[in-house]
């Protein structure tokens, strides 16, 4: 427990350092002479407070939500590959959000609601299709990948049908990026994330016990089916609100849980640490995307894929090797 708090504190410090860095030398505008005085209302207030701060806050929110969503999914299915961005849940949220935006002309909270509905539908479809005397996590993952292709095709269809200007606006749901969001957008996301976090609190003991296996959990007095369903809905919600504002920032949900677990050195899923890791990953990736390539502004989703996909490959290669020698 002590290590858990220590590690979370360390992640928080890293996050704050990255945040400071992003505010000081992030994209757009000249570097301000003094970030702290700018925040307090001094010089360069516009660059720091209007341009960079919203972006930073949204990056933190998106990362935290994805980190939690990934960890809950991975824990529920007992499989590190079962994160929402690999199995099509994020893509479902994206397609629904893009549909709401392009076809329904919706914006703001309505897009989030649509994303949630889309993600929930995809999660339900995968669950139903992979159900055969219970859930096999690999069947779940493979069917999820198939559904992800289908949803991706639907999203492609939406984008090719829209007129060019609107499609530009909807491209965020194809690659995943954090633009310069308005405070109202951030406020809605923060409120939704807060509600979800609160509804997560009473579910945490159940999540912990489900890790021990369904039978043990039942023995410990957990209503397995109900807890699983509730946890899935909350996790889908976290993924959906992140995707609604930032698109499918791939691999964040996938890496946050395992990294947190490894650093905390606990077999238990640690939601706070995962949220912090997610936030660190997204803020760092966005910073890199803004800064690393000179004038080119790279969407955060591209950066996370470039870093996350090799990690997945490494994980697969390592698993195969250990299975071969065992």
């Amino acid at each position: 427990m002590k290590r858990y708090i220590l590690v979370s504190g360390a992640f928080l410090v890293v996050l704050l350092a990255l945040a400071f860095l992003s505010l000081a030398i992030g994209g757009f505008g000249d570097p301000p002479s003094n970030v702290l005085s700018a925040l307090a209302g001094g010089d360069d207030r516009f660059t720091v407070v209007r341009l960079r701060l919203p972006r930073l806050v949204l990056a933190v929110l998106v990362g935290a939500c994805l980190g939690i969503a990934g960890t809950v999914f991975q824990t529920l299915l007992g499989n590190p590959l079962a994160s929402p961005d690999l199995i099509g849940v994020s893509q479902g949220a994206s397609a629904a959000a893009a549909g709401a935006f392009l076809l329904g002309g919706l914006s703001g909270p309505a897009v989030s609601v649509a994303a949630f509905a889309g993600a929930l539908v995809v999660a339900a479809i995968i669950t139903v299709l992979s159900w055969r005397n219970g859930i096999s996590s690999y069947r779940f993952v493979l069917i999820g990948i198939g559904i992800a292709f289908l949803v991706q095709a639907f999203l492609g269809y939406l984008l090719t049908r829209a007129d060019l200007k609107e499609a530009q606006g909807a491209l965020v749901w194809l690659v995943g990026s954090i633009g310069t969001p308005g405070w109202d957008e951030i406020g809605i996301t923060a409120i939704l994330a807060g509600v979800l976090a609160l509804s997560m609190l009473p579910l945490r003991p159940a999540l912990r016990m489900l890790q021990l296996g369904d039978d043990t959990a039942t023995g410990l007095g957990v209503s397995v089916t109900r807890s699983r369903a509730l946890l899935t809905v909350v996790a889908v919600g976290f993924a959906a609100i992140a995707v609604a504002v930032a698109g499918p920032v791939l691999f964040v949900a996938f890496v946050a849980g395992p990294i947190a677990r490894r650093v905390v050195r606990s077999s238990e899923a640690s939601l706070v640490a995962s949220a912090l890791v997610g936030a660190v990953v997204v803020v760092a990736a966005d910073f890199l995307g803004q800064r690393a390539l000179g004038d080119a502004r790279v969407p955060v989703g591209v950066v996370t894929s470039l870093v996350g996909a090799p990690y997945l490959l490494w994980l697969l290669a390592r698993d195969n090797r250990s299975r071969g020698t065992a």
């Binding site: 690999l86 559904i147 289908l150 095709a153 060019l164 894929s305 090797r321």
Partner: protein
Amino acid sequence: MSPGIRRGAVLIGLAVVLALVVTASFALGTRAIDLSSTLAALTGSGEGTDAMVVIDLRGPRTLIGLAAGLALAVAGALMQGVTRNPLADPGILGVNAGASLLVVVAISVLGVSSVVGYVWFAFAGAALATVLVYLVGSGRSGATPVSLTLAGAAVTALLTAVITLVLLTDLETLSQFRFWQVGSLTARDAGTVAVVLPFIAVGLLVAIALGPRLNALSLGDDMATGLGQSVRATRIAAATAIVLLCGGATAIAGPIVFVGLVVPHVARRLVGPDYRWIIAYSVVLGPMLLLVADILGRLVVQPAELEAGLLVAALGAPVLVALVRGSRVSAL
């Protein structure tokens, strides 16, 4: 009737259906053209707008549908045979993404503009992705469907990110990217197809020659070796054919997923596990699937069109789900 004759008869029947589909592909679309005008245009005696539409607009896309459908289906059959993996598909395993990436790099970074120039990049990219996915997906215990599929998904994600990165430097290409990434038969002209066709033909010949070897391989590596076969040589020859077929198909039609997955399975249903017949059936069924998807795409949302790749995905994803639910993979 002996099984051989029956299989041959069904194959001929399917070839006739394919001929009908090809004719439909010339005749149907936003501007419907009646059969006699279509045939007149095809035999060179037609004139006016109808003949122009048939020859200049629908000719290339029909040709692309034939070539790409054949290439992807045969490549899928080869992949499923070599890896003994029922989920193998050039799209799912990331091979098409590899070809796409190097084509994009060739065009936008190196400034290659001729097809003859970038077709080589398509092959190099397909080869790169094939090797990468296979190395990652197969440990000493051999490649399982799960590990190969996941490796393919990871490689696709990685390569797509790099493609986006390359295209982002140019906003205009980004807006084309959305059309390109769904897979379409209308993106290239007849000249491009002519450049790519010889490669697809070579790939097809290698695939046909490999049929008997794939049958031995389906009994397991040890059994195939016992039957006097060099497993390694078979793998390398198959990989070469896959690269030629997928690189060629992607160069003319973009990254199309699921043709290589669905067609060999349908063929297997029709003719059983003999790879010589599976490949022969794939040659006919692949173009049929892609052309039917393309024709449907022209008709369902008139006067607009749906890209063939989208419809193939809509048809293919349920097949993948059914396969995963089926007995062969669920043991995992």
